[in-house]
Symmetry: C2
Subunit: 344 residues, 2 copies
């Protein structure tokens, strides 16, 4: 055994774990059990492992630039995340470069390559809807590039993820509608392949169950495109039958809610008296429409700040400790406005 | 005279023009008169000028990456420009990296440095509200980095600029209100230090003058912050006096218009029957509010496409010809919705 040249791969092979697990364990990253960290460090000592000199020197010639890969800048939520990222980055002397994937895997892969050739010190990622193969990220992690994922959690072991509690957001929205006296609550759900859609719907179901309201499958309508035209058309159909119509709407996000409101109003129904409406994401326009829209606020700026703080700690090889992973699931907040206030 | 080593600076000195003029004249860029081009080329020949070998070799090792410096991604207009940029860039095998300045000069300077150290092939810029000294851009132009400015035209000679016809947008909006029978048209103007604010206001004044409506200075109200809270508060004051209130609003942009609409409605006034409203920029929410908002659409995507096409031609040293500079001022389009339709 070439003791003097043991690499991370040697340690990984000996322990039958991935290289990225070894790398992260050696750095005390979160998401790795103490037991694994102990085994990795012992094996590193046994094999006389020394950190790769090239990697270290690369690390020393820092660019003070952070790369951010996001699906769409036009989505209000992501623009608030970017603000939070920049806030922390600039305060610490880092610049930020953004690449937008437009929800396309191909663009994501080429964005990641661009970022890498630009010698970024670390990467913040919210991957595209198309991404199911994460090998372009795994490759970077094996090169020991610090990466933090936000909003969307990838199917890779031992990643550091900063997310929103979408389940609780859906629960808060639905419970509020129930508390206001609404009973036939329509859920305009998001694309079913996204985890956030599933979590919001689970929150909706949990609130109904808790209140003893039976779930009516006809009241769960998926909006795969999730724009205002689609929800307008769905709602015109759903609300035109006076005998059998819902009395409230919990929408996957505010654009979907806005389309639903236009439909409900076009049928002459009053919001919130006859139909209560709650959206999600608290887009900029939510307070400007008529009536102002109750919405679940995601702490976009906080997500950006938190993800960047952790990334900078990783870049600077700081021991991230004690970091409870639960801290990285940030809470939503229900902003109550007129659209859902039946009882006021 | 060192004939064999004449540089662009030598030519510039001999002709008493700037280096960037010489550089651009040699490449047949737009914005340089034929007369200047001729003088520069003759002097280059006389001095035995040869393009800088280092610059050429830098040019040959292309990164196929375009840098974009913008004030704010959250502004809907800029997000549409980015879409247009990416459309053309990806089609031509280029990646796009973005830096957001948040309207701060300091961030702009450091963004430009980051872009440069990342070896971009060219730069698209909409500079910050704070920028009055353009030396960080002039430096890049002297290094022969291709740059195209969009939306905001800098105070530098011989730049290539792609802009919107804001004057005509303001004119279209105001003329439409006059055609609908409104006479006391309030202009909620943008920050007075921005050229776009001035142009929109000039368009407003031109339409009034053409219709023979005397200008009432009390009906021109600046909104320096240009958010919905500010315009709400201004309009509550301006509309509460029933005897003397305006009968229409032309707002600097849709957020300002939305705040004004909330104020007007809070006073019990009907839109469009008692007050007509027109916004600017056609934000995503304009069609979703009640009543849907008439707005001047800026061709954001087209601006991005056009600016990128020209930048790629500059990067590839193509002769840009014949390029009428007037083509680079793109037309707005009035999207008429219910908020301004008194006569329907």
């Amino acid at each position: 055994m070439k003791l003097a040249q043991a690499t991370i791969k040697d340690i990984a092979r000996e322990l039958n774990v991935s290289s990225s697990t070894v790398s992260r364990a050696l750095k005390d990253y979160p998401g790795i059990s103490d037991e694994t960290k102990k085994r990795v460090k012992e094996m590193a000592e046994k094999l006389n492992y020394r950190p790769n000199a090239v990697a270290l020197s690369l690390r020393k010639s820092k660019s003070f630039t952070i790369g951010v890969v996001i699906p769409e800048v036009v989505h209000f939520f992501f623009s608030t995340v970017i603000s939070g990222i920049e806030e922390v980055a600039y305060k610490n002397g880092y610049n930020v470069i953004l690449c937008q994937t437009n929800e396309k895997l191909e663009r994501e892969i080429s964005s990641v390559e661009t970022m890498l050739s630009n010698q970024i010190d670390g990467l913040l990622v919210s991957y595209s809807k198309e991404t199911t193969d994460f090998s372009h990220f795994i490759k970077l992690m094996e090169m020991e590039l610090p990466i933090v994922f936000f909003d969307r959690t990838p199917n890779i072991e031992n990643t550091v993820n900063v997310t929103v509690n979408d389940f609780n957001g859906g629960y808060q929205a639905t419970k509020h509608l129930i508390d206001q006296g609404y009973r036939k609550i329509l859920h305009l759900a998001g694309p079913s392949n996204l985890t956030i859609s599933k979590k919001r719907k689970e929150g909706y179901l949990a609130a109904l169950n808790e209140a003893g309201i039976p779930v009516d499958e006809k009241l769960i309508v998926e909006c795969p495109i999730a724009n205002e035209k689609e929800s307008f058309e769905s709602c015109v159909q759903l609300f035109k039958d006076a005998d059998n119509r819902p009395d409230a709407i919990f929408a996957h996000h505010d654009i979907v809610a806005a389309g639903a409101m236009l439909a409900v109003k076009s049928l002459g129904l009053k919001i919130p008296e006859e139909v209560g409406v709650v959206g999600f994401s608290n887009w900029q326009f939510a307070s400007m429409i008529d009536p102002p829209l109750t919405s679940v606020m995601q702490p976009g700026s906080k997500i950006g700040e938190k993800a960047t703080q952790i990334l900078l700690e990783m870049i600077n090889n700081k021991v991230i400790n004690p970091l409870n992973m639960e801290d990285l699931v940030l809470d939503t907040e229900l902003l109550i406005r007129k659209s859902s206030l039946k009882n006021s």
